[in-house]
Structure formats: C-alpha cells, structure tokens
Point group: C2
Chain length 227, copies 2
C-alpha cells in the first residue's frame, strides 16, 4: 500500500534544524494492523504524515501502490488521499463552528459525493463511536473525547482503504478506548482496511499485529506478532 | 481555596440542553492534591472550569477565599485568576504563531511583570519540563507532547497558588508522564501549591491524595487517601 525508502525529514525552524526522521525504511502491506510507538518528539506524527502523503520527505522515496509520489503534483496527491486515505489527527483538526455531523460529512462533500445517503451515513458513524446525541453540537462545544470521536467518524466517511490514526484514544477513558480499538480491529478484519496508528500506551499498542518503535527519528525496532 | 455549593451547569446548544454538572458540592482546601476522574462527557472539564472561575455556574454558589464570586464583575474575576491560578487546558490553547518561550511568558506580561528575570524564568520552566531546546519553535511547529509541556510551563510562570490541569499527561509517554506528575507532586509538597487535575488514567490518578469521580454530571464518589 505504502512504502518508504530511505526517507528523511528535516524541519527548519529559524536557526534550528530538526532531524525528525532519519533513514526510514518501511513497507505497509494491505491488511496490516500496525502500531507506531515511541517517546514524545521521536517522530511518530512526522512518520504518519509522510505515510499518509500529507507531507513530502526531505529525501528518499515514497511509493503508493507502486507509484512514486514524487511524480505527482500536490493537486493529484490531494485527490488520491481524499479518495483512499482516512486521517485522524493528533489535534483532531475539526472545523470549530461546524457541527459534529457537518464535520463528518465534509470529506464526502469535498469528494463530491452528492448522494442522499451521506447524511444518514454520517449519523450512523457518529452512532458507531457513541456520540450520535451530539450530532448537532458545534465542534467547539464538545468535550475532548467527543471531538476525538468526531475525528474518527470523519475519517471513515469515504470508506478508506488506509486509515492513519494519530493517538486515536488519547482523550478517551479505558471503556471508550477499548470500544474504539475493537471498531478498528473489526474494520481491519472484516473490511480488510489497512490501519496504521500512533499510540503512547502499551495496552493500545497490543491490539496491533505489527509494532514499529521510534527513538530520536530512527525506527529502532520492528516486529511482527505471531498470533 | 475554592468551594462549590449546589453548583449546576447547563449548556444550551440549539434545541439541546446539556446538564453538564448537577448539584456539585465540593471544597478544595489549601494544599490539596486532587484528581478528577470519569468517562468522556461526564463533566470533568466543566467542573474544572468552574473551580478555576473560567466559567460561571447556571445555579449555585462559587466561593473563593471566602468571597462569593457572584459579586465580582468579569474584569475583577479575570484579574483574580491571572494573579493566583494556573490553568492547563485540555487542548493546550497555545497561541500558534508565538514561540514556546513567548507562550510561556504571556501570562506574566499580561500581569505587567516587566522585570528582567521573566525571560530567564520562562527558559527555566521549559527546561523543567524537558523542552528547553524548543524554546524558539513556534507553537504550531511542536509535537503534541511538546505543546502540552509548553502549556504546563505557562501555567507556572506567575507562581500560582492553585493549579488546574485538564489531562496534563494526555499526550505524554509513560516516562514523560511520570516526570510531570513528580513535578506537580513536588510543587504541592515543597511549595504548598494546591493542585486539581483531570485524568482518565488510573496510574495518573494514583498520585493524588484525594479522588473525585464523575458520572453523567454527578459527583458519585469522593475519597481521601490515607497514606
Ligand atoms: N512543522 C515543524 N517544524 C519544525 N519542527 C517540527 C515540526 N513538526 C515537528 N517538529 C519537531 O520534530 C520532532 C518530531 O515531531 P513529531 O510531531 O513527529 O513527534 P511525535 O513523536 O509525534 O511526538 P508526540 O508524541 O509529542 O506527539 C519534534 O521534536 C518537533 O519539535
Ligand atoms: N460549550 C458547550 N456547549 C454545549 N455543550 C457542551 C459545551 N461544553 C461541553 N458540553 C457538553 O457537556 C458535556 C460535558 O462536557 P465536559 O467537557 O465537561 O466533559 P469531560 O468529562 O471533560 O469529557 P472528556 O473526557 O471527553 O474531555 C459533554 O457531553 C459536552 O458535549
Ligand atoms: Mg505526535
Ligand atoms: Mg474534558
């Protein structure tokens, strides 16, 4: 699905150069259920953004379905992402003054899905994450855990083949976290959805079939769980 | 320090009325180290905002140092908060285009502390939370856990008597979380700082001397730990 070859990412902030990712080599295969772990600032979000083609590497290659994305202009890349990827951001990135329902529908409206079923689908997804009763709340008037779950529902509206989730249970209590991970697990097993998620919690990492460990921008550990 | 008497908070969102807090009776005493726990949407952030006088109740009384805040106009209340309280928001609420250092200094500049030491104090606080090397980064260019720690440092700049922290370890790995809780514990024990924090993690709640449990807007459990 996505392959990284010798990927590096350097951010420049005034005079400071941050080597956020160093020589990342990684293949995400169809049907994978992969957790990325590591300390704060180790490059997890950076890795996830590059895997999801939200950001381009400073060097190295990113290959999506056998196509090197270097050859794609930003507009084509955005189109590919919108159609096939679902992204759950660490900060949720909801539109504050839109309702929960409108936020969930937005990616479908952007992809010009004008069919009647979109509003019902958005309601069903909010129900799936347990906040259907907040559908008409503006995002800015939701609790932290409710905002997080709107972000999850939104990532699913276009039926993505790849879900990239940055700390999807960060604001959730253990019960809501377990429900969410069970939902992701069933999407992976029953829909064949490929899922890569970042977490700093070991119990949440344990749901995955593969584990990638980051430290100071390096992938220092890469395992496959034998069930 | 802060006392709530029969406090209720109702939010109106279009036609939906949310009873976020119901008959909350609670006293926070000087030197307390208190954790607030409960499921997503149970009213934790609402309770914390009312304790910190960032929001007024729909009914009931809020008494700070024996003064009912009903008699204080918003400007006087803001002044009291700025001088004595330190707040760590669930969403951090940093100014995106200001640097980490500027964000930390901001509450002191608002209180018109023009002394030379403010920049050094801000550097020391960033060092205390382990991100001194990101002092010149704009907030929007920091990782999630780095933003959280800037929010912590900012809450400490005016040497508050009461710290209200909404999920202060939410974006942090276990090592950084433990360091932060040890910092709060030492502020409580050595500086006599009163601390109230929200968390959804049991291990983080265990640092506290008192536990308040919320469910559907009610305080359903209230304990004091015997050391
Ligand atoms: N846009 C940016 N400009 C400059 N530096 C950045 C930018 N984004 C991230 N960084 C820096 O790169 C490093 C890696 O950031 P990243 O967000 O990938 O970390 P992370 O592992 O997701 O951390 P966390 O667990 O705290 O979210 C951090 O030290 C951060 O300060
Ligand atoms: N400004 C608001 N307007 C309308 N409803 C609100 C507002 N703020 C919160 N709510 C609602 O009140 C309830 C309690 O919110 P609160 O933020 O206190 O929950 P919480 O316990 O902090 O949840 P979480 O753990 O998810 O952060 C939620 O169901 C939320 O939708
Ligand atoms: Mg991150
Ligand atoms: Mg909250």
């Amino acid at each position: 699905v996505v392959r990284l070859e010798n990927v590096c990412k350097i951010y420049k902030e005034y005079s400071v150069e941050v080597n956020a990712l160093k020589s990342a080599n990684l293949s995400i295969r169809e049907g994978d259920f992969t957790a990325i772990v590591g300390p704060s600032g180790s490059g997890k979000s950076t890795l996830l953004h590059i895997l999801g083609c939200l950001d381009r590497p400073s060097s190295g290659e990113v290959i999506v379905d056998d196509q090197n994305i270097k050859s794609l202009p930003d507009s084509r890349l955005a189109k590919l992402r919108g159609k096939k990827f679902g992204f759950i951001f660490q900060g949720y990135n909801l539109i504050p003054r839109l309702t929960a329902l409108e936020n969930v529908m937005l990616p479908a409206l952007i992809q010009k899905h004008h069919y009647d079923g979109i509003e019902k689908l958005a309601h069903d997804l909010l129900n799936l994450v347990g906040i259907e009763n907040r559908a008409e709340h503006r995002a800015v008037h939701l609790s932290g855990g409710e905002q997080q779950r709107v972000a999850v529902a939104r990532a699913l509206i276009n039926d993505p083949v790849l879900i990239l989730a940055d700390e999807p249970t960060g604001a959730l209590d253990s019960e809501a976290s377990a429900k969410l991970m069970e939902l992701l697990k069933s999407l992976n097993r029953e829909e064949g959805c490929t899922i890569v998620y970042v977490t700093h919690e070991q119990t949440i990492a344990n749901y995955a079939g593969r584990l990638i460990q980051l430290k100071d921008g390096y992938i220092i550990y890469h395992s496959k769980r034998e069930w």
